[in-house]
Symmetry: C2
Subunit: 416 residues, 2 copies
């Protein structure tokens, strides 16, 4: 059999929320199939199904065991995939649906946050070769003891990209309710434009900063296994945004996008004893309390003392406080300040690697707008400023204007 092009399509919950949308998704799969491709669809739970199931769980147990939560929530995707398969059959094409278990999507046993270890694509390939469109339940897998696991928030994206990698698919289309990746959040900066292409590294920085387009882990997968990810709208056939490896012309673009993260809190530990192992002690303690820490800033104040500050997701703020209070004396910390009235504004672009002056452009622009910067962190391709939450939107707009994020990249004055 001659090798056909393989495409993986992923439909999120809002794109399969009701019968009409399910039929639309089915039609998209059929359209690709009619072009001679082998089509694998990954689908999430319909609309608010997952929320409803969580509510059902909390009604019988306010603190439900995670294994059972996975057993429960995985039904949402299973329902969708069987319905999509039915819809496709109803339109005259052959389809078959699979759960994570059925395609041996093997994960570790960390319930509600499992990681994929392997996928057996033999069954899928067999069904594709029989002329079936294959629909796979996203978000879920199974551990080595047949316990159902789920991959955590955005897990269906990860399922789709992992399947695309395992199948050596040509592309992985991520259908969502937006039509691509924008330079920034158009709800705040209304002139934001859609990007034609963005690199894995850039979208990773944007995702981790809350741009919320795709789950970070799925992008890591794509990067590792060279999967071209196409983020596009389930409501149209227009091209969306391609997420790919960095290409040379990206280097001329200083800033691809800007983000704002408001769901943050900051912990500042002042006057920690400046001796080896203290930082490790603090962050090990936080990890034990299952607090996920974002940016860390440590500065030496004297030979004896250092200041350590870090940001956490607001959901983890209480746990972080508890953990810090119980460790602060052991590390000789003089004082701790907490604040949750902050926002983090970031500019992201792989061009920063080879061009100077981006930080300077950003800081001067913010200063001109009288926006006070609480603290700064950077990565190779990102500059982030913590600012007062009240000034957050203003800061983001300022950054967007500075880097001309209202224009396609080839129209920007600073792009070489």
């Amino acid at each position: 059999m001659s090798k056909k092009e393989i495409i993986v399509q992923k439909f999120g919950g809002s794109s399969v929320a009701n019968a009409e949308k399910i039929k639309k998704a089915a039609q998209k799969a059929i359209n690709e199939f009619k072009q001679g491709k082998q089509v694998v669809m990954v689908a999430s739970a319909r609309g608010k199904q997952t929320d409803q199931l969580i509510a059902d769980a909390l009604e019988v147990n306010p603190n439900p065991p995670k294994r059972e939560m996975d057993q429960l929530l995985s039904t949402g995707e299973q329902q969708t995939v069987s319905l999509v398969a039915m819809a496709i059959e109803g339109m005259g094409y052959k389809a078959i649906s699979f759960t994570g278990a059925q395609i041996r999507m093997i994960t570790d046993s960390v319930h509600t946050k499992a990681r994929i270890k392997s996928i057996d694509v033999e069954r899928i390939k067999k069904e594709l070769d029989k002329g079936n469109i294959v629909i796979v339940a996203g978000f879920q897998g199974i551990d080595e003891n047949e316990n159902i696991t789920t991959l955590g928030r955005g897990g269906s994206d990860t399922s789709a990209v992992a399947l695309a990698a395992a199948l050596k698919a040509d592309t992985c289309d991520i259908y969502t309710d937006v039509d691509g990746v924008y330079t920034t959040d158009p709800r705040i900066f209304k002139d934001a434009v859609k990007l034609e292409q963005i690199s894995y590294d850039e979208i990773l920085e944007m995702a981790s900063l809350g741009a919320g387009v795709m789950h970070g882990r799925s992008i890591e997968f794509g990067k590792k296994y060279n999967v071209i990810i196409h983020v596009r709208s389930s409501m149209s056939d227009k091209k969306g945004t391609l997420i790919t490896h960095e290409v040379p012309q990206m280097e001329g673009i200083l800033v691809s996008g800007a983000t704002i993260e408001k769901n943050l809190a900051k912990v500042s530990m002042v006057g920690v004893d400046n001796k080896p192992g203290n930082a490790a002690k603090i962050f090990a303690h936080l990890a034990e309390a299952k607090v996920s820490v974002n940016d860390i800033i440590q500065t030496e104040v004297s030979k004896q003392k250092a200041n350590i500050s870090f940001t956490v997701n607001k959901n983890d703020f209480n746990d972080a406080k508890k953990a810090v209070e119980s460790i602060k004396e052991k590390v000789g910390c003089d004082n701790v300040f907490y604040r949750d009235d902050i926002a983090e504004v970031s500019a992201i672009g792989v061009g920063m690697r080879t061009h100077y002056g981006v930080a300077n452009m950003m800081f001067s622009a913010l200063a001109k707008e009288k926006i006070n910067i609480d603290s700064i962190t950077t990565s190779e391709i990102r500059i982030s400023c913590l600012v007062d939450k009240a000034q957050g939107d203003k800061a983001l707009i300022c950054v967007c204007k500075t880097f001309e994020l209202d224009k396609p990249v080839n129209k920007r004055s600073y792009v070489k």
Copy 2:
């Protein structure tokens, strides 16, 4: 480890319809566990969940493929079992839930009507020995290719009894919204009384005649593997009805129960060529059309001609008509009569095997009430009369009074 008593409990959809009922079911499992038993619970989908899923399916495809229907419907039970496990954990006891796939409930591949081939109870035993209450999704299995199958109507009963057999459980408690098996339908004969005990054969006849207490296949399983089945109310702790092998004292009871089946239609083929193989031809043809045929009556009218009549479930009536119309000429049938305004009233009792006169008592009683009998069929332990549907209830009441089905068996005048 010393061998503990094992009990299997089955809760139907109405007994787990909401959080409150799920907690009640959980409490029943815990009560048995606290008595030192190992407890396996089998649960159905919550209340109207299955109906909702069927409606969802029909909305995307009015004729959904059966494999996908099974994939869809099996989620209902999966949701229940995880919720029950959560409820039990919330009450301070250990629990773990399993799908049919997880316990390798292997069936054939006849989707929507699969039959159990084997169950791997090792995983269940391991979890029981760890002190877990084990909750298993009823109604579902998996075929040898990992396709999810369902066992058809009442399938959760079959799951429970099959598990009880495989685990060599001491009893299988079937919790339902009635408190046991009644001599007849109390909605029609209000003085019906609860039976303390009934034989597999009797309840099989009642089930197949639509008494609807339990699914026939589950009883066959119980009979074959000696599982004592206890039908009881999920709303109380009162004893219900035990379904067991025949015991000697049952022989004295001429009639244990009476039933009425209204969902029937009758096909009468008049003047079929009386030659070998014609009946086989007709019923093979009906089987091919997937029409399930109930009682068959064949009478020779002459050396050349015979009459063949049979009843079918009303749902199959149209298919039956089509099948009969397309075969009638091939078997030389002169004429066909159809009627769907009939009801079948039956008296059932293992005592009929050894006692005469039951048929006579029944026919005279009906005659006295001026109820015309269209036709009669019997088995070793059953006498059934087809009557006009309009006279159905009256006929049932008449039979009940004749055999004193308003009294416990030891109070009846005719019981030796």
